[in-house]
């Protein structure tokens, strides 16, 4: 039996972690703003980071396939969603 071995380059893990880091700050700011809704500086930081993460996510998806389902990411041919390994596999 042939086993599927990942052909993911080191850059995959590097970029993924960079994205995880940005998204983590966004989670933290989001929860903080849920209890501090009047903090303008945090809202500005949140919006700025949301823009940065969207650029990085776009770049990542061009290289490694869609991150999201239900129309929040684009797909090349053939359907890429289940082609790329899943988070618990990589």
């Amino acid at each position: 039996m042939m086993s599927h071995k990942a052909d993911l380059d080191p850059q995959f893990y590097e970029m993924l972690e960079k994205l995880q880091a940005l998204d983590f700050v966004l989670v933290e700011l989001n929860l903080f703003l849920d209890t501090h809704p009047d903090d303008l500086a945090s809202i500005q930081q949140y919006n700025q980071l949301a823009q940065e993460r969207s650029q990085l996510a776009n770049h990542f998806q061009q290289l490694y396939g869609p991150l999201m389902n239900f129309g929040h990411s684009f797909s090349k041919f053939p359907w890429e969603w289940s082609k790329v390994p899943w988070p618990w596999q990589v």
Binding site: N30, L67, W88
Partner: protein
């Protein structure tokens, strides 16, 4: 509506083939203070909590689903390449005869998950105090799990999850303050 994002919240690594840890980690998958209980508790309470704190319950509940996936990843990685002999030697034989290597919502002693683990009292203070207690109990469980392994990679992921309980606990404490009295809040700034 939820939309899935095909990545873990934190890069989970398992550095050691310690199959027995899978049995212990299941506590945070389907145990009383585990991530499934946490997610379902908050996502259910959000419907009847005052509007000011719905967002917080919604968002922490959603993050808990990401933590559930991290725990699942740890269990999956520890068991996927185990032989039946290794499974028996590690004490996972009782789990195996019931589930093979499928993940299941049960605690480390094999007790299946039950809705009796969570509460929805409808009283916002009672519900938020339960949430704070749940976060502290989950933090403690992560400590005891960290104690049970010398795998620094696994410890690393568990330490991340323990820290998240701390931040969530603080946010729930803030939610209580918000509901106690809006004007009082200002003096803490």
């Amino acid at each position: 509506m939820w939309v899935y994002e095909k990545k873990l919240q934190y890069p989970v690594r398992v550095g050691k083939c310690d199959i027995r840890m899978a049995k212990l980690l299941i506590e945070q998958y389907g145990g009383a203070d585990g991530e499934l209980a946490a997610a379902l508790r908050y996502l259910n309470q959000r419907y009847t909590i005052p509007d000011k704190v719905i967002g917080l319950l919604n968002d922490i509940g959603t993050e808990e689903l990401a933590h559930l996936e991290m725990i699942a990843t740890m269990v999956y990685k520890l068991t996927k390449d185990a032989t039946v002999e290794e499974i028996r030697a590690a004490g996972l034989d009782e789990y195996y005869v019931n589930h093979d290597k499928a993940l299941f919502y049960e605690n480390a002693s094999g007790v299946p998950w039950t809705a009796a683990y969570i509460q929805a009292k409808g009283d916002p203070i009672a519900d938020l105090y339960e949430d704070i207690a749940a976060e502290e109990k989950a933090r403690a469980t992560y400590q005891w799990l960290i104690d049970m392994t010398d795998d620094v990679d696994l410890q690393d992921g568990l330490k991340f999850l323990r820290e998240r309980e701390i931040v969530h606990s603080l946010r729930f404490r803030e939610a209580v303050e918000i509901l106690k009295d809006d004007r009082d809040k200002k003096k803490f700034f």
